[in-house]
Symmetry: C2
Subunit: 370 residues, 2 copies
């Protein structure tokens, strides 16, 4: 496997480093290094409408940068008539709004694939919902006067490192039509407080409905371009590929998913659940970036029942759901799956892809009812 | 391997479930489940005197409990003349203080042992320093009038589950002399805000100087006893054992350790560091629960130099240190080690123990200087 350096001048398919684990191979030291610095949301936190800051999932490609908010500026340039250089105070003085948004890492579920793509080894917990406070991206694009033939907007973060032999700032682009969506925001607040450093202080992008890679943290530059962006995180990573030679399709919106709070009490090491026989309320959340969630079902040993689905917390945030279960003694497997308004539902067998992206295999929880 | 149920009436050695990995075996699914719900502090966060809440390490044995702060009470009973039942408001009205404390998980470094004890697979990042706000435990013990022959104080948290076949609330005890230390506190604030749920809301114990297992989260009961506490987390877990048959010694205070911010920039997957040749300042923190840190050394390819050590952030919190390094091109291994006022220093070869406790093997960072 190889990787080549991509540039805007020399666009081509970037080959991503995607070593695969040998089937049955345990998690490697390299994957463990990622797992101990990134973090999932413990699933019992599905009980909260809004995830406490310290429990929200976090995926950082390089290092969390130290940004001096006084010296920091947001540059808005490229194909614009009025290049801008904004201070944090200037951004905070713009019209603001707060909206709840559910984010999920595009690699969530990767460690359940076989063969397993070697990267951050998520099981199912790379999720979270926060109330983000900031200002409209469209308003800033308007003020900068982007050119009529602008095709994409490129976002650059301050985190810097090497991935697949390419030294880079973390960069992603959005098609102009996506960047102009009313709910796409530049945010400086999370759950009513300033962003913590690991979530993008002083400013990050939030792209509701898209997997988390689009919501660039530690944002310091916004550039209007009239061609296509071919940076590593766009042309190499975050693609649905079947092989190294497959250019694949870009990862964009969040696929439909439901997760439950594992019922009962856990065993420390195995995380197996123990439930007392009788009435048990199974609760969880469901979300989708493509269309509203229309249905959630809960399966017990393969028998599916419809859960009661609540209204979503917001247009771009998850919905609570619940189901009353009469638990009878024995070994049970409890599952859940959501279906969106387009009729897409979660698979019970996971289609594989090289980078382990967009997995929404149904969650399975092993339960001993006593 | 087996585990037996312990009780205060039938004290005996509890056998802890400590499966060991086969040498060279990758991290198991069970260990990964723990690694994705618990979290370390990304080492670049060593730059902060006080760790942002969402970056502080976290180890939860069972589930993070949902505690209703209105219904919640702290019971203080056992061998006392005046049993207490305190509301959160009553505790908040008591004399308060705020102190910085460095906490470290007793299992930090476990995944670097061979054979590897199977539990939360920490590398080196199970650390953090917070400013904790609360009230003195000694004051509450005085108000409850503990009996003259009290030997230990038992602390019970609300998290509940099964470990090594023993169903339990998380419980730990302290010898009375430790519980009475001036700096042992019941805290309701962390970094100037109410505790987040995962750090023990509404109230937790903080035992400065001891590994984190002593600082019971979600505290709801304090009991004075006149014998020894034999609960699972005291008599089974958190012991320095060489074998299942070895009763071992209890884990108590934090052993001396230094960690550095990995210099330069990372490679995403391998976390290998890349540094430009020239002057590089290596920075980090050092701490010890047994005695003050007296010396920090930095090793480059086995050549040790003394770092400049700053005053500690507080009596129970870490000290910053730094060293100027003239980096020359090549593959380098950078290490650091601290020594305390008792002359204890960090090993370069790790003594092994069955549960993977109290490891303070020197940190090694592989660096490519270009």
């Amino acid at each position: 496997m190889q990787a080549t350096v991509g540039s805007r001048d020399r666009p081509h398919i970037l080959r991503v480093m995607s070593p695969l684990a040998v089937p049955g191979e345990g998690i490697s030291h390299e994957e463990l290094q990622l797992a101990t610095r990134n973090r999932g949301m413990p699933l019992e936190a599905l009980r909260y409408d809004v995830t406490p800051v310290g429990m929200h999932y976090l995926l950082v490609h390089f290092d969390i940068p130290a940004v001096d908010p006084v010296a920091w500026r947001l540059r808005v340039d490229g194909k614009v008539s009025e290049p801008l250089e904004l201070t944090l105070d200037e951004i905070r003085r713009r019209p603001s709004r707060t909206i709840p948004v559910t984010l999920e890492c595009a690699g969530n579920g990767r460690a359940r694939l076989e063969p397993r793509p070697m990267s951050q080894p998520w099981l199912v917990e790379a999720i979270g919902t926060a109330e983000w406070t900031g200002t409209s991206l469209a308003g800033i694009l308007d003020d900068a006067g982007i050119a009529a033939d602008t095709t994409e907007i490129v976002f650059t973060g301050a985190d810097h490192g090497v991935e697949a032999h390419v030294e880079q700032d973390y960069q992603r682009s959005l098609p102009l039509s996506e960047a102009r969506r009313d709910e796409v925001m530049l945010v400086y607040g999370m759950n009513g407080r300033p962003l913590e450093p690991q979530h993008g202080f002083p400013l990050r992008l939030i792209v509701p409905g898209w997997y988390g890679m689009a919501s660039v943290k530690w944002l310091n530059r916004i550039e209007a371009i009239t061609d296509r962006f071919h940076g590593y995180q766009q042309a190499g990573a975050y693609r649905y590929q079947q092989s190294e030679d497959d250019p694949g399709l870009p990862v964009t919106r969040i696929r439909v998913r439901a997760l439950m709070v594992p019922p009962g009490i856990p065993d420390f090491l195995t995380r197996r659940r123990i439930v007392d026989a009788g009435s048990v309320t199974i609760v969880g959340r469901a979300w989708c970036g493509e269309a509203p969630v229309e249905r959630v079902e809960v399966g017990v040993d393969g028998e599916w029942s419809d859960a009661r689905l609540e209204r979503p917390l917001g247009d771009w945030a998850w919905s609570a759901w619940s189901l009353a279960w009469e638990a009878t003694p024995g070994e049970r497997v409890v599952t859940c799956r959501a279906t969106d308004a387009h009729g897409n539902t979660q698979p019970t067998e996971q289609p594989w892809n090289l980078q382990g992206m967009g997995n929404n295999l149904v969650q399975e929880v092993s339960v001993t009812v006593r």
